[in-house]
């Protein structure tokens, strides 16, 4: 389980803009370390999010997503006080969930 995500969910009218920063190396599997050995691929493959318990967001990522990934999506029909839970799963099977309240 990695370091905590930073989730900001801001109400804008009847929607909530959700910004997530995740702490992850996102190794492509192309890089070689200082000893010349290839660093194995290690990256978030799946990101999901729920709104008040209902799954709303689902994305599949490859190695091209940047280190310490950022993602922005907008949930319809959301308001201040609603609960957002974001989960990521990486290619090692590690996962991490964090939650935030819409402000």
């Amino acid at each position: 389980m990695g370091d905590p995500m930073r989730i900001r969910a801001q109400a804008q009218g009847d929607k909530a803009v959700v910004r997530v920063l995740m702490s992850h190396e996102m190794e492509t599997g192309q890089r070689k370390d200082s000893a010349g050995k290839t660093v194995p691929a290690w990256f978030i493959q799946e990101v999901t999010a729920s709104h008040n318990g209902t799954p709303v967001f689902s994305a599949l990522w490859g190695t091209a997503v940047s280190k310490n990934p950022f993602v922005l999506f907008t949930i319809r029909g959301a308001k201040a006080g609603d609960k957002i839970v974001v989960t990521w799963v990486d290619n090692r099977g590690d996962k991490r969930s964090d939650e935030a309240t819409v402000v």
Partner: protein
């Protein structure tokens, strides 16, 4: 409504394509940097630093919440824009990172010298960077106002000025070689003139910063360390007087400038 938005976006795209030819490289870079401001991975380090500030750690199993960063024990907001400054308990002018190490030693029982000898990005040195990010973030938007009331602070300013203009190393470089004049740049990076007040969010006002090129969080100590590397000088010791003096020189020169730290950089 959605169709209107899509149509408007499409129209903007076409206008954008036409204007592209006239946009300079500098404008393009500015647009790129602006797009990155929304969601700075520095926030991850800020959150880590805040947790470390409050967590009981070290041989003394204490938190850093009574650490005096210059505005009184535990006062975090506003501390960053008044550093470096003189501290009576250590009888030294100290910058943010060296002061954090002092507090880690005095309050938590860590070995300050060992932390200073730890490479950047490892062990407790990594924690110092996160803590520095947290403290800097608490002063975002405030304006630099380093004290120069103590004779040691004034002396460090003069030393910093000498260090800034000191030419040495195999290329005969000084800080001033790159940062001593207006309007200089290296390839696509504009070089701020640090011998005077470069303005809001420029130079001194933007470190600590998250560097996208290596995904690392850099405090001012690492920034200066890397400047020395680029000049092919020997590396300065962590929080050595020379580095603190440079901080005083740049910080006092930046008086009134708005801090945007922690920022995001190439």
């Amino acid at each position: 409504m959605n169709k209107l938005i899509v149509a408007a976006a499409g129209a903007l795209l076409w206008v954008g394509v036409a204007a592209q030819a006239q946009k300079s490289a500098a404008d393009g870079i500015a647009e790129y940097r602006k797009m990155l401001e929304d969601g700075n991975p520095a926030e991850l380090f800020e959150a880590k630093g805040e947790a470390l500030w409050k967590q009981k750690r070290g041989p003394k199993n204490a938190s850093l919440e009574s650490c005096d960063l210059g505005k009184g024990p535990g006062v975090v907001k506003g501390a960053f824009v008044e550093l470096p400054r003189y501290f009576a308990d250590t009888d030294r002018v100290q910058d943010l990172e060296s002061r954090l190490v002092s507090c880690m030693q005095m309050l938590q029982g860590f070995d300050g010298a060992a932390i200073a000898n730890t490479p950047f990005g490892r062990g407790e040195q990594d924690n110092v960077t996160a803590l520095a990010t947290f403290v800097a973030a608490a002063s975002r938007g405030l304006h630099f106002d380093l004290p120069q009331s103590h004779p040691a602070e004034r002396q460090m300013y003069e030393i910093g000025k000498r260090v800034f203009y000191f030419r040495g190393g195999p290329y005969d470089f000084a800080c001033a070689s790159c940062h001593g004049e207006d309007g200089k740049r290296i390839r696509l990076q504009d070089l701020p003139n640090l011998s005077k007040n470069p303005g809001d969010g420029v130079g001194f006002a933007s470190w600590p910063a998250y560097r996208v090129s290596n995904g690392q969080m850099w405090g001012m100590q690492l920034r200066l360390n890397d400047c020395y590397r680029q000049q092919r000088f020997p590396y300065p010791g962590f929080s050595s007087d020379a580095t603190v003096a440079l901080g005083v020189f740049m910080g006092v020169n930046a008086k009134g400038a708005e801090s945007i730290a922690p920022a995001i950089k190439r």
